[in-house]
């Protein structure tokens, strides 16, 4: 094959993935039999959760709705989009974790998927044993790992502890080791889901450098999903924007990011959080947010002289003496802006629906579009345990109404502090 000719290594054609909404099966045979018996007698199913939206039952949802995409050898393709746009589903199908409903994908070569670092790591086994374990799970043979093990250990910066069980590792070391294995795979196609979001900045840069090499010099193909636009800029040579299960843009990285930022939806003032995914496995189990509303608004656009009123509803599955809430604010390109001081929501017990209304003052924010995550946690700040954190980005826009402020200029950052307090002015002469 000539060098100038582009060699397609991934071809996605008419890819669709359908999910069923609502509850799928009771999970136990007795529940299924109960539900069936209730239906036979025309009674209400005893196993439906009270308060769930019955309309969703049996309805379907297209996570991917006809995706076509060709990726060429040596490309580093970024995939961006809002939560629920279908990014993760696409990666899951590409890495064969789940099958598509329609369409097909053709691949040339092996796919190494890093949807999570350290998959299959076993705490009881040493770092070295885990390199072999993880490598084998990712599709390497023992001989291939043998040939690379020294390189992997060197890259991981864990050399001194390589024969120690990984349960004694700090989380940083754990991540470094895991990434080192994945980065040294021989596969022709690498699929990554925001794995670079972990580890310290220095190691992140090292990883990005490694991934660029993998794509640029070694001629392998990288697919990278991230919310972090700066890593997308740094790594990717081409970028795809997904929205509602379709590709809405495919091409230049900067253009893609601009389009992605325009998809921020400030017309949504009500969010249903019951079925959205959570930041981690344990979030949403002991306490669950059910909805969020911007109170008294038709769109979430706020003048910087206006106060933002937010109403959330939530339930707990066990008693709490007091849970804390904070907002994590981001600019629309995902740059973090800051957090709010935690506030205690008070005691809560199971079986009740709590509705909490609170006020946020956006007056310190410069003009522009933002979003925030809600983080509800238990315990003092040092050992705070996250109780719930939906991945939903609650978008809003701040407009300038304060005439005493000059027009916002790029390069000012996002925050304006209160005016300095004049103590005295003395005149001489």
């Amino acid at each position: 094959m000539s060098v100038t000719e582009k060699n397609p290594v991934i071809e996605v054609r008419g890819l669709k993935k359908q999910y069923k909404l609502g509850q799928i099966g009771g999970g136990t045979l007795t529940h299924d039999l109960q539900s069936w018996w209730a239906r036979v007698r025309g009674k209400e199913d005893p196993n439906t959760i009270i308060g769930t939206d019955q309309r969703l039952f049996g309805q379907t949802f297209m996570a991917l709705n006809g995706v076509d995409l060709t990726v060429y050898q040596g490309e580093a393709l970024g995939i961006i989009g809002r939560n629920g746009a279908g990014k993760s589903t696409l990666l899951k199908i590409l890495s064969r974790i789940t099958a598509p409903t329609e369409g097909e994908i053709r691949l040339k070569g092996r796919v190494a998927s890093m949807l999570e670092v350290g998959t299959g790591f076993n705490n009881e086994m040493t770092g070295r044993e885990n390199i072999y374990m993880n490598g084998a799970i990712l599709g390497m043979t023992k001989a291939e790992i043998d040939a690379k093990v020294d390189e992997i250990i060197a890259f991981s910066e864990c050399g001194d502890f390589i024969d120690t069980p990984v349960k004694r590792y700090s989380s940083g070391m754990f991540v470094k080791l895991a990434f080192a294995v994945a980065a040294h795979l021989d596969s022709e196609i690498m699929v990554m889901d925001e794995v670079l979001a972990v580890g310290d900045m220095k190691f992140q840069q090292k990883c990005l450098g490694k991934m660029s090499d993998v794509a640029g010099q070694e001629g392998r193909t990288v697919l990278y999903v991230s919310h972090n636009m700066s890593t997308i800029r740094q790594l990717c040579t081409r970028c795809v924007v997904l929205d509602k299960g379709r590709v809405i843009f495919d091409g230049d990285v900067e253009q893609a990011i601009a389009i992605y930022m325009d998809t921020t939806d400030v017309n949504v003032v009500h969010y249903d959080l019951k079925d959205v995914s959570r930041m981690n496995q344990s979030a949403g189990k002991r306490l669950r947010l059910e909805s969020l509303d911007f109170v008294g608004k038709e769109s979430s656009v706020f003048a910087d002289t206006e106060k933002m009123r937010i109403r959330i509803t939530w339930r707990v599955s066990e008693p709490f003496a007091g849970v804390n809430l904070k907002m994590n604010l981001h600019y629309r390109d995902s740059t973090p802006v800051g957090i709010t001081h935690p506030v205690n929501l008070g005691a809560a017990e199971p079986g009740r629906l709590y509705a909490t209304e609170f006020e946020f003052d956006p007056s310190l924010l410069g003009e522009g579009q933002y979003f925030f995550y809600l983080d509800i946690f238990d315990g003092a700040l040092a050992q705070a345990v996250c109780l719930d954190k939906p991945v939903t980005e609650f978008a809003f826009e701040v407009t300038s109404a304060d005439l005493s402020m000059p027009t916002w200029a790029a390069g000012w950052g996002r925050v304006h502090f209160p005016a300095v307090k004049l103590l005295s002015t003395e005149t001489e002469g």
């Binding site: 789940t98 099958a99 409903t101 999570e116 076993n122």
Partner: protein
């Protein structure tokens, strides 16, 4: 299914094609073979997980069947006074128990494949069959260790002049061991496929395996049913009757192994394994959507 025929790049170069779940027998054995190193790693991990942070460590492999054999000897041989076909009762129970333990661990350890590994399965692809296969191989190694202990006791009884002898069925033992393993694998993966929908089946299975032992000639010989032909016939429908009886006939010289029930048992195993693999390969493609 809309099958786009736009070809870019020559057709032959594509190495993998991902399509919606189709067909019944959709399993790539060559791929499974490529992942053989992973199976070895899983076996190593199974041992690491099993014995790290236990007091007696690997001694459990021996202690478990030893204590069970002693218990069977006291309860079924001593108290209940069940026949052991004239062979030393301790060896009789140990023989039955060794084969049965092998079979039951094969089932119990594969029956929860999907549920126990859903975390890993949700994050990375590898042929899912590697997990149950590594489980039965782990059981096989444990079986060899326990069989070695059986040989030691056998030699002791033989030297002290106990009434027993090896028979030609010896030569069938490798096949019997393989069969027990594959039957355990087959039944286990059928259950594991069904547990993705019905979690409570996992509880039922360990209980069911216990009951199964009592309808297999583990604590009594098949010959005790000689005067009840109907019961003896029902016993022979149990695919585990043949392996247990053959193991005893081969090593102790008494038992009612015959070719007919062996062939039946082999056919049963092949069918169970076939159904298991088909169910498993169907479930593995979409179970992540339902967990």
């Amino acid at each position: 299914m809309p099958n786009s025929s736009k070809n870019s790049g020559s057709q032959g170069e594509w190495t993998t094609i991902i399509r919606p779940r189709t067909g019944w027998f959709d399993i790539d054995l060559r791929e499974l073979w490529r992942y053989r190193d992973l199976i070895v790693m899983f076996v190593k991990r199974n041992f690491a997980v099993l014995y790290k942070q236990t007091i007696l460590g690997p001694a459990w492999v021996l202690l478990n069947p030893l204590l069970t054999s002693v218990l069977f000897n006291v309860v079924f041989g001593g108290i209940a006074g069940l026949s052991t076909d004239g062979t030393p009762s301790f060896l009789f129970y140990m023989a039955g128990n060794t084969v049965w333990t092998f079979f039951s661990t094969c089932i119990n350890n594969t029956a929860n494949t999907f549920v126990a590994n859903s975390q890993v399965f949700g994050k990375v692809y590898f042929p899912r069959l590697t997990t149950p296969i590594s489980q039965v191989l782990t059981s096989l190694i444990n079986f060899f260790i326990q069989a070695a202990m059986f040989v030691v006791f056998w030699l002791y009884f033989w030297l002290t002049g106990a009434q027993m002898h090896l028979t030609v069925w010896m030569w069938a033992l490798p096949l019997v061991i393989l069969q027990v393993m594959l039957l355990g694998l087959g039944v286990g993966i059928i259950v594991s496929s069904l547990t993705t929908k019905y979690r409570d089946l996992a509880i039922a299975v360990s209980f069911g395996v216990q009951l199964w032992m009592y309808i297999s000639p583990v604590v009594y010989p098949l010959s005790t049913l000689g005067d009840s032909p109907r019961l003896a016939f029902l016993m022979r429908l149990n695919p585990m009757t043949a392996p247990v009886e053959i193991f005893r006939t081969a090593t102790l010289g008494t038992g009612s192994a015959d070719l007919g029930m062996f062939v039946y048992s082999l056919v049963f195993t092949a069918v169970a394994l076939f159904i298991g693999v088909i169910l498993f390969s169907r479930i593995e493609k979409t179970f992540m959507d339902t967990v």
